[in-house]
């Protein structure tokens, strides 16, 4: 048994202490998510929720989550002349990640499906470092170096979906205030 199945990468701290490089994974566009979650025959009417300050307080009280944005991008979904649900695009910001996700709600406010649209992680400093990038050179003959694809499989990431759970609770509290009575 030898140990050449992995390569060691040593990066001096100074070289990576540069600001702002972000790695992102894009999964679905809004349109793709809409079709996937409600089917080809559904139609979508943009009906954004504008959250006023009284509602902000009520939503915070009900969900325990602070409301940062005044507008929640929302679509009322119609299928066969009936309201078949709501499609909502929300964002959550964690310590190291920034996630945009879509939520499919039934007309009565049950969560039908959650799909992540974009996941950005604020660690990806490595990709600015030439030594780190050099790891890829020649590793795949004839292939284009696509950093967006290459850097996604990072083992040991403690990715948490806690912030998404909080976001969903906040959206459901927003539903109660604005959509439930419709």
């Amino acid at each position: 048994m030898n140990n050449d199945w992995f390569k060691l990468i040593g990066i001096p701290v100074a070289a990576v202490a540069v600001a702002g490089q972000v790695q992102a994974a894009e999964y679905l566009t809004v349109e793709q998510a809409q079709k996937l979650m409600f089917g080809e025959s559904a139609s979508f009417e943009k009906s954004d929720i504008k959250i006023n300050s009284a509602a902000k307080k009520a939503i915070k009280a009900a969900s325990g989550v602070k409301v940062d944005r005044r507008t929640l991008p929302t679509w009322t979904v119609f299928d066969g002349g009936e309201v078949s649900g709501y499609f909502i695009v929300d964002e959550v910001i964690g310590k190291h990640e920034y996630i945009t996700y879509a939520l499919a709600l039934s007309p009565s406010g049950e969560v039908r499906q959650i799909e992540i649209l974009v996941y950005r992680e604020s660690y990806g400093y490595e990709i600015r470092n030439p030594r780190w990038r050099a790891q890829f050179v020649g590793s795949k003959p004839g292939s284009q170096l696509d950093l967006g694809e290459e850097i996604k499989n990072i083992s040991g990431a403690t990715m948490s979906c806690r912030h998404i759970t909080e976001g969903v609770n906040r959206v459901l509290a927003t539903y109660d205030v604005y959509l439930k009575s419709q």
Binding site: N3, S143, G156, T158
Partner: protein
């Protein structure tokens, strides 16, 4: 060439993390269908194993009275059998018993998928469920003749078909990668505590069930194995057993490494195992 083909991929919040499923070399509509089905498999496993859902099979087991018994699903049965096997092989390092002090087993596996409570305490399949779910999703994709793809549950990953590059974070400086490797038709998992020492002390430490003590901060263990459930379970064995875990790795056709401060030690141990990568 497979590398340039489009990968259809999606991600959902599941199993307490973000689960990403990717399928390549497959027509887009079919790929999306395969991905949806794979997520469904994972959701079913999550539902059965949740400790927090009072209706789940695991909750029903935890609610059993002393000597009470329950017939479980085939799925849960195979996980309980695998867990028992691992506990025996790892001399208690791997354990599904959430009660740390309990050396004895909480459940006795009877015949015909029947389990019986033999001691107080509760089970927690958190250490095995994620890997198991990844394996189930991958095996489903393979059963549908998908040429190439991967399932990544927050860093516990299994790939098939085309190879995938993997990077392992430094346990103390998460913006740095310590190790890179290429994974092909195999699974890979890392166990460690990342981020700052403060949050480590507050929460999710990896505990040694034999002592109830936390594994030291700044140490991570990674394992490559044929299945994700084995890779995940074996990371915990390496963290606690160190070189005693060699036998286990051999047995499961696995290999791994431990990152401790500025040193990387590969397992099973060979004459050339400790490498300083600093500078």
């Amino acid at each position: 060439m497979t590398f340039t083909s489009k990968v259809n991929k999606r991600a959902r919040p599941l199993l307490g993390t973000v689960v990403e499923i990717g399928v390549s070399d497959t027509e887009a509509a079919e790929a999306q269908e395969l991905i949806s089905e794979s997520f469904l498999k994972i959701e079913n496993i999550e539902r059965a194993m949740s400790r927090f859902d009072k209706q789940s099979e695991v909750s029903q087991i935890n609610d059993l009275e002393m000597n009470g018994s329950l017939v479980v699903s085939q799925q849960l049965w195979s996980i309980l059998q695998l867990s028992e096997h691992l506990t025996a092989l790892s001399r208690g390092v791997f354990s599904i018993s959430a009660a740390q002090k309990n050396n004895g087993r909480i459940l006795k596996l009877m015949d015909e998928r029947k389990v019986c409570r033999v001691a107080a305490g509760s089970i927690d399949l958190g250490g095995i469920a994620k890997g198991y779910a990844v394996d189930q999703a991958v095996e489903y994709l393979q059963s549908q003749s998908t040429p190439s793809g991967y399932v990544n549950a927050g860093g516990d990953i299994r790939v098939f078909g085309a190879p995938h590059p993997i990077f392992v974070r430094h346990p103390l400086r998460p913006s740095e990668s310590v190790v890179s490797l290429e994974l092909k038709d195999a699974a890979f998992a890392t166990s460690a505590i990342y981020h700052d020492e403060k949050s480590y002390n507050q929460s999710g430490a990896v505990l040694d069930p034999r002592t109830g003590r936390a594994v030291p901060f700044g140490v991570s263990a990674s394992v490559m194995a044929p299945t994700c459930v084995m890779a995940d379970a074996l990371t915990k064995c390496i963290l606690m057993l160190k070189s005693e875990g060699d036998t286990l790795l051999h047995q499961f056709d696995a290999r791994g490494f431990l990152v401790d401060g500025e040193h990387v030690t590969s397992y099973p141990r060979t004459e050339k195992t400790i490498t300083s990568y600093a500078n």
